[in-house]
């Protein structure tokens, strides 16, 4: 019994020691990680970036983990004077990854160290690029023809006519290329640099606001006068059409009447011409009937056809 007990204790202790040794020798690497093995703080062998379970020398070797994924870098907004003496705030971002953990470990130790180097390198490159280009090169990306509303074109809204030669994307690319080689020695691959934000500094911004306000007011004024102009135009048109309509109607009416009169005259003439004497005779008599009334004084000579028999039965 005693001997058995002792052997159990021995086995227990042995297993315990084995456990300790194994847990120090075995390590796992995640999909997102890569490692550098160090021995007494000195890197040993090649970095390992294959995910899974791995073995190292227990106790004397240590594992330092590094990110394998794409990492962020966010620059501080900095005031930069563009080539056309305009102060702008430029805010960049970058994406990078640790491609050589050994170099990385030796030169910048950890991500904090890397961020500082990236700050220096990218911000310097950004400054260089912006100061050698005019503002519009950084704002625009192509020479795409921009539309402005018609009325604004009329008031001469300040449309940018300067064409660009480089453009925003290419400037960002140049910043990337300029920085890339410099961070290579830190085991860092700079994947991308982009201009995130771009703005006028406060003073300039106020001036731009003022200019925009002035432009808008000009446009408003334009609209107002345009409205009045259009109104007058329509009113004039109306007046004209009115005159045209009434005068044309008058003309047509007169033509119709004239033609009718002419035709009537012709008809009368045709009829009466057969015996003008008879016409004037009948017309005169008809006229007498209508015009002579009780107030008329009629003085007739016995000479007249009507009364001639009064004096002479045989009158001719």
């Amino acid at each position: 019994m005693n001997r058995g007990k002792i052997s159990i204790y021995i086995i227990v202790i042995a297993l315990f020691l084995l456990f300790i040794v194994l847990s120090s020798a075995i390590y796992t690497i995640d999909m997102t990680q890569q490692v550098v093995i160090t021995q007494f703080g000195r890197p040993i062998g090649d970095p390992i970036n294959e995910a899974g379970i791995h073995i190292k020398m227990p106790f004397i070797q240590n594992v330092t983990y590094f990110e394998k994924r794409l990492l962020e870098w966010d620059g501080n907004p900095s005031e930069i004077l563009a080539n056309d003496k305009k102060f702008i705030l430029v805010d960049t971002y970058a994406r990078w990854k640790i491609t050589d953990p050994l170099k990385f470990f030796k030169s910048v130790v950890d991500e904090n160290g890397a961020q500082t180097r990236l700050d220096n390198v990218i911000e310097a490159a950004t400054r260089d690029m912006i100061t050698t280009n005019v503002l519009i090169e950084v704002v625009r990306n192509s020479n795409r023809k921009m539309a402005i509303s018609e009325i604004e074109a009329d008031v001469g809204a300040e449309a940018v006519v300067d064409s660009i030669h480089v453009g925003r994307t290419k400037i960002a690319k140049r910043i990337l290329n300029a920085s890339k080689d410099k961070v290579n020695e830190y085991g860092i691959e700079l994947v991308d640099v982009r201009i995130k934000r771009l703005n006028y500094i406060r003073d300039v911004r106020e001036k731009v606001f003022e200019r925009m306000i002035a432009e808008r007011l000009k446009i408003a004024e334009k609209y107002r006068s345009e409205g009045m102009g259009k109104k007058a135009e329509v009113e004039g048109e109306m007046e004209k059409e009115l005159q045209q309509i009434t005068s044309e109607a008058y003309r047509t009416a007169q033509e119709i009447k004239g033609k009718a009169d002419a035709k009537a005259i012709k008809i009368y003439a045709q009829a009466y011409e057969r015996d003008p004497e008879f016409y004037s005779f009948t017309k005169s008599l008809e006229s007498y009937r209508q015009t002579l009334d009780e107030k008329t004084w009629l003085i007739l000579s016995t000479d007249s056809d009507y009364l001639k028999y009064l004096k002479d039965v045989n009158a001719k």
Partner: protein
């Protein structure tokens, strides 16, 4: 006996410290503990809209679909649950909906303004508020290629939006080409996210509000007012036009119709008169002298009775004038 003792030791350091009360108790306790740990670490459920990414010793093995699944316990296999490709994530720029927490809290106003203020291609300033909706298309890429994907999406969105707006005039951004701009942002974002191998698909980009900056807004409102005023003036003029012209046209037609009536009247009368004259003349021609006399005498006999003052004067009478004057002075009264 020995077997049971070994197993209790097998579990290692922790068990070692506890003073054994009785061997049986320890054995039962250890067995129960093992069973419980096995139970709790060997299964997992994936909810409907999720997928599970399985890693063995940190190495990717498989992706599992919704449902109940088993895995090797004791941390050998681990599961990371993420939203599947049907779940739509949403990132807002320049504004936040009320319920969006966490990021919203800090330094709100200034932060949001610097997010939305941007330069347009004609060097004006616009505030642009937009929203990006995306899905995780490839969970493996999503988890293993990029750290802090949300930040990446936000950075990409801000950069791309400014690039696109920077190539448009302020008018285009405000009114003219909003849909086009949103589409360009979507395409460019997708392209960049692909080069970063994020496993993200941009579902939609929507421009919410594109406005002039706060300070310029009253002036822009004035433009709108002026435009409305212009339209009102034009409408008024058109209204007057539409009121006056049809009426004038109607009146013109009336004038013409009247003239036509007149013409008809004239011609008909002329024709009537002519016909009458012809008829009469035809008859008259047959016995001119008698008819003439008859007409004359008939007329005279019709007129004569009506006239009150008739003077018959002998054809040899002289001094007619005197006589008339005399009559006029005395007789009429």
């Amino acid at each position: 006996m020995q077997n049971a003792g070994r197993r209790s030791v097998n579990l290692g350091g922790e068990q070692f410290q506890i003073p054994p009360i009785s061997k049986n108790h320890i054995i039962i306790g250890v067995v129960v503990l093992i069973v419980v740990i096995l139970l709790f670490t060997s299964y997992y459920t994936i909810k409907t809209e999720e997928v599970g990414v399985i890693k063995r010793f940190g190495r990717y093995t498989t992706t599992t679909m919704p449902g109940l699944h088993f895995k090797i316990p004791f941390g050998v296999e681990t599961v990371t649950k993420i939203k599947g490709s049907r779940f739509i994530f949403r990132e807002e720029f320049g504004y936040r909906t009320a319920k969006a927490g966490i990021r919203t809290q800090l330094t709100r106003e200034v932060n949001l303004l610097s997010e939305s203020l941007m330069l347009t291609g004609d060097l004006n300033i616009a505030t642009v508020e937009w929203v990006v909706q995306y899905r995780i298309q490839d969970p493996k890429k999503y988890l293993f290629n990029v750290r802090n994907i949300t930040k990446t999406i936000r950075d990409v969105a801000e950069s791309v939006t400014r690039q696109i707006v920077g190539d448009h005039s302020v008018d285009e951004a405000w009114i003219l080409s909003r849909l086009e701009i949103a589409l360009l942002i979507k395409e460019n974002m997708q392209e960049m996210l692909n080069t970063y191998k994020t496993g993200i698909v941009i579902e939609n980009v929507e421009l919410q509000d594109v406005n002039p900056p706060e300070k310029v807004r009253p002036a822009v409102n004035q433009v709108n007012e002026a435009r409305q005023e212009m339209e009102k003036l034009i409408n008024q003029a058109n209204e007057a036009y539409n009121k006056v012209i049809p009426k004038a046209k109607g009146e013109a037609n009336k004038t013409i119709s009247q003239a036509e009536g007149y013409a008809m009247d004239r011609i008909n009368r002329a024709k009537g008169d002519a016909t009458k004259f012809n008829e009469v003349y035809q008859a008259y021609r047959l016995s001119k002298d008698v008819t003439k006399r008859r007409i004359y005498l008939e007329t005279m006999s019709a007129i004569f009775p009506k006239i009150e003052k008739k003077y018959i004067i002998d054809k040899d009478q002289k001094g007619l004038l005197q006589f008339l004057q005399l009559q006029d002075r005395g007789g009429n009264k």
